[in-house]
Symmetry: C2
Subunit: 103 residues, 2 copies
């Protein structure tokens, strides 16, 4: 680990969806765009096959809390539980070490 | 957070692949099966679209280190860098809080 490594946070959002998810893609795009404008947002990655995984990265726990409580995001969360997700799991994690390979 | 929550660890493996990835699926299946037999392994989730995300969960940093250094896994890592991945990033994280939604 580099001596100057500054820990940051990851939110691992794992989910399975219902069969019919009308309106989901539009909302997901809106939420991604909105997340990117939040203080302390560092980045995100998403992929979905049988299970969907979205990992977002944040400077602090406070930034995660603020995003979780953002009014528009609360509406999206409510819609998600009501209409789109059959299950989801959220893990708040502290990123302690990173390494990377590049061609 | 529940008072009896015991922190554990997540390895977030994010990657992009080359165009031709002969032998990859077989090796990925082998490595998943092998990981599941390791001491301290708790579970894993994978999905891939433009980017691939595999998150594996472990009881301890020692379990992660042992898996990283497993002989068969070292061979797979070498093949991965040589043949399959154009980029990957590994983040070692401490899972500090978890919440879940179920229909």
């Amino acid at each position: 680990m580099k001596k100057d490594f500054k820990p940051y946070y990851a939110v691992i959002f794992t989910s399975t969806q219902k069969e019919h998810i009308e309106g989901y893609a539009e909302m997901a795009n809106q939420m991604e765009a909105l997340a990117k404008t939040q203080d302390g947002f560092l980045g995100m990655d998403s992929a979905r096959n049988e299970v969907g995984i979205t990992v977002s990265y944040w400077e602090s726990l406070e930034a995660i809390k603020n995003w979780k409580q953002h009014t528009d995001h609360l509406v999206a969360q409510q819609k998600g539980r009501q209409d789109w997700y059959s299950w989801y799991n959220v893990k708040i994690c502290k990123v302690e070490r990173v390494y990377e390979f590049n061609l």
